[in-house]
């Protein structure tokens, strides 16, 4: 198949059809922050940190570069005024959930922390652990429950007991891939494999007992 020609930050580049903008741009030397993207996993498009400005036929729009494939003749701006502003706002939202977020990133985008209400929950719902477990390990121990702000990652206890020992403490463990850091420790101490729990599913990150009950309820387990 013939290569696709496009411009990234003004520079002509070529890419294989099907290449995502993120990869094409990074290859061309652009720096694009990502959170929910991990090589080897299907792009997920949840964090939206990777947004870039795409100009086609004089019309500009914002797209998530991790799952937008290259197109002939487009202009991609990875650090336009808009992109920078939006990344700043997204980082602001993320920081409210995850105080340990990379400070260098906050500085780079001049993020004004303190405007948002605190939501120290640590999990940013990047879904990497869930996708790692289902896509790479094919074990389906983890899943999402709930909608909106209530959405969270849970582990299904029966499956966890059976399959978590396969990965636990090894290089392939989902714990190794969690970008938030904190959740790794938290998760490890609460790993379902290390505890004897009868619940059908329990939140990866137990916020409090009410939450644990809510999860069970939403799964029809109570």
């Amino acid at each position: 198949m013939s290569e696709i020609k496009l411009k990234i930050n003004g520079e002509e580049v070529t890419a294989e059809p099907g290449t995502m903008l993120l990869d094409a741009a990074r290859k061309a030397g652009a720096e694009i922050p990502t959170l929910c993207n991990l090589e080897g996993l299907e792009p997920f498009g949840a964090c939206r940190l990777c947004v870039v400005e795409l100009i086609r036929g004089g019309r500009s729009r914002i797209v998530a570069s991790c799952l937008y494939p290259v197109e002939e003749g487009i202009d991609v701006l990875t650090e336009s005024e808009k992109v920078v502003r939006y990344r700043r706002n997204i980082l602001e939202l993320l920081e409210a959930r995850w105080p340990l977020i990379d400070k260098a990133l906050l500085e780079k985008y001049k993020v004004n922390t303190g405007r948002m209400a605190r939501r120290d929950n640590f999990c940013i719902m990047c879904g990497i652990c869930v996708r790692h477990c289902s896509e790479r390990r094919k074990l389906n121990v983890l899943g999402f429950v709930g909608r909106g702000i209530e959405r969270q990652v849970v582990s299904y206890t029966m499956r966890a007991k059976e399959f978590c020992p396969e990965c636990f403490d090894k290089e392939l463990s989902c714990l190794k891939f969690c970008p938030t850091g904190v959740i790794v420790n938290d998760c490890a101490t609460r790993c379902p494999a290390s505890r004897d729990e009868e619940a059908f599913a329990k939140p990866i990150r137990v916020r409090d007992d009410d939450n644990a009950i809510a999860v069970k309820k939403s799964l029809g387990d109570l």
């Binding site: 998530a64 494939p69 948002m116 909106g148 702000i149």
Partner: protein, 639 residues
């Protein structure tokens, strides 16, 4: 239907149709009892049952057709009963009225005047189409409801049903059908207003062995029930449209995605499909033309986000109804990776009309960019609520004042919300805006699927924005950061506003979050979620400022900011407020001014409601003024 005989070719259909039409007497008396959602809530089922019994008893059962039909439109005055062919319209009918209707009207040919609509001038109106609510409407899609028993395919065929399908599959090529729909200018009625013909063409184009056509009947807007009204009342019109689309696009399978909360719509559609299969209008080799088509009904969980096209297709596939990133159009890769065309219920219902009457006829209705009619569910603080169908290009003022009869209790108008939770508010000075996709969009709102909520002066615009965001926060799937955390943080700011704790900078924060969400969110829900907030700031910024700078709620709604007081000049000491107060916060002697003790008051609003309209002594003031207000009235009392 009489005997089941499969229709094998177009002339079989013609004969079938002829037999139905000839077997009907256009002057036969028929009683159409509305069983739409509004009327059912007013127990129209009991009215129907009573008719059934009483008609038998009166011996008229043979001469009179009795039908339980879909929504007539004027739900406010339900149960609605229309007597055909004279279109005598009885409103607020109770089971006890049935006997009188039978004796006076059906047998005697007279009128039961007390059940007629009475205009502002107090004069009764006999004919349905003369009632102001109906007079200004143009019922093209929705007009047949009262003449069709949704369970009777004969009723539909008698009114020309399925002739458009037969015309399309026997005399038109798929391309000409698409060309006709394109030419008509029909745009999607479910939200974005995308041109239907262009979408059909895009779906027909890519090479594929399988294609799908799909009806979106998820109808998630709170308070909207246009699609329900059509599907319950005239299911065949949607099915026929879908079949024509299937033929044009090259699909052999259609889906109707209906929310579970619409059991009657589901039943009526399933019943209609069964009948169609029996007579051979659905299935293999329809009328010998070689066109194969069948339809599957998918019951959805009725989440707002499942109405989004990629989420809806995921749900049909049996996966979680969550939106997919949409850089590939569903017209190329939709349901099961096949080219798929999703249209709204009302969009499909327009198709048979366009095929039968032609694109030119359709184009003659509406504005330059928006053709045909649109059904709205007119609700809120308006006198006549219900489902209304108007030609595109009518002004909002005409809809609200001519059809809707103006604001309830003759209060002042404040704003109208169009487009549901993804739309926005429109203020008084823009009421002459036309119902037109592009005009509404330019005003910061949108046509949406047809929700229209009218608000009077006692509405707080900040609170309205908060209401829609609260709805959306429950409906967001929670996958992407902008939508999930953006809505959460916006709500936090609105919470501060309504409780009087917001700062000037909060307006900037709202704007920052909103603009980012509009461009960065993964699907249409998140992208449009800030619209209600942005549009209310745009047109009612003074209300936001009042909440911040003066800690005042101009609509008198936000409890934290208001307090009640009694104007001693106006109070006539009737004692009504005192009686209704649940916490005994009001004191006073008969015939002398009463007083509210704000320390006890729980702001239930009862005294405000109860104070006679002519007196209006109970007034709302700022909570911040309470101490002084109370002190002054105390002083005054001591003097």
């Amino acid at each position: 239907m009489s005997e089941i005989e499969k229709l094998l070719n177009p002339s079989d259909f013609e004969a079938f149709q002829k037999k139905i039409v000839e077997g009907r007497d256009p002057n036969r008396t028929a009683v159409a009892v509305c069983s739409g959602p509004g009327c059912l809530a007013y127990a129209s089922g009991k009215v129907f049952d009573r008719f059934k019994v009483e008609l038998l008893e009166s011996g008229l059962a043979e001469e009179v057709t009795l039908a339980q039909t879909g929504c007539h439109g004027f739900c406010e005055r339900g149960p609605s009963v229309v007597i055909l062919p004279d279109e005598i319209c009885y409103l607020r009918v109770s089971p006890d009225d049935v006997k009188e209707i039978i004796e006076t009207t059906l047998r005697g040919g007279g009128i039961v005047e007390r059940l007629l609509y009475k205009g502002e001038d107090g004069l009764p109106v006999q004919k349905e189409s003369d009632i102001p609510f109906y007079k200004h409407q143009q019922k093209v899609v929705f007009g047949d409801n009262k003449r069709i028993d949704p369970r009777s395919i004969d009723d539909y065929i008698a009114r020309g049903g399925y002739t458009a399908l037969v015309k399309a599959i026997t005399t038109m090529s798929p391309e000409t059908v698409i060309a006709e729909v394109k030419e008509s200018g029909l745009r999607g009625r479910g939200g974005g207003g995308f041109p239907a013909g262009a979408k059909w063409e895009a779906t027909a184009k890519p090479p594929a062995d399988t294609r799908y056509v799909i009806v979106n009947a998820d109808e998630g807007d709170p308070g909207a029930y246009m699609d329900r009204g059509i599907l319950e009342g005239n299911p065949h019109s949607v099915i026929e449209g879908l079949m024509i689309g299937g033929y044009a696009i090259g699909a052999n399978e259609g889906y109707i995605y209906v929310r579970q909360e619409y059991p009657l719509a589901i039943d009526n559609v399933l019943y209609a499909l069964e009948v169609l299969r029996e007579i051979g209008l659905l299935g293999e080799n329809i009328l010998g033309t070689g066109f194969n088509f069948d339809i599957i009904v998918h019951k959805g969980a009725g989440a707002f986000v499942s109405g989004e096209s990629s989420a809806l297709m995921s749900a049909i596939e049996g996966r979680v109804g969550e939106p997919r990133p949409k850089y590939i159009r569903t017209s190329i890769s939709g349901l099961r990776g096949k080219p798929s065309c999703l249209n709204n219920v009302e969009t499909w219902a327009n198709v048979p009309l366009i095929i039968n009457k032609g694109a030119d006829w359709f184009k003659s209705i509406g504005t330059e960019g928006s053709k045909g009619t649109k059904i709205f569910s007119l609700v809120g603080n308006v006198k006549n609520t219900g489902l209304v169908e108007v030609p595109m290009g009518m002004t909002l003022r005409q809809i609200i004042f001519d059809i809707g009869g103006g604001i309830r209790d003759d209060k002042e108008f404040k704003a109208v919300q169009t487009g549901g939770p993804s739309g926005g508010v429109i203020p008084e000075d823009m009421l002459d805006l036309h119902v037109d996709y592009d005009e509404l969009y330019a005003a910061g709102s949108m046509m949406g699927s047809g929700g229209m909520i009218v608000m009077d002066k006692d509405t707080c615009m900040v609170n309205v924005a908060k209401y829609f965001l609260e709805f959306l926060s429950d409906e967001s799937c929670g996958k992407c950061v902008p939508c999930r955390d953006g809505i959460d943080q916006l709500l936090e700011v609105l919470q501060r506003l309504t409780s009087g704790n917001a700062l000037e900078e909060d307006l900037e924060l709202i704007e920052d979050i909103s603009l980012m969400m509009k461009e960065c969110a993964l699907c249409g829900l998140g992208q449009s979620a800030p619209n209600p907030v942005l549009s209310s700031i745009k047109y009612f910024k003074d209300e936001y400022i009042a909440h911040i700078a003066e800690k005042r709620c101009p609509g008198g709604v936000c409890k934290a900011l208001i307090a009640y007081t009694i104007d001693k000049e106006k109070c006539i000491g009737c004692g009504k407020c005192m009686k209704v107060c649940p916490v005994a916060a009001i004191t006073g002697e008969k015939k002398s001014p009463h007083k509210i003790n704000n320390a006890l008051c729980v702001k239930c609003d009862s005294c405000y409601q109860e104070c006679p309209a002519k007196v209006q002594a109970v007034t709302k003031i700022r909570q911040a003024d309470v101490i002084t207000a109370f002190a002054t009235s105390e002083e005054a009392a001591n003097e």
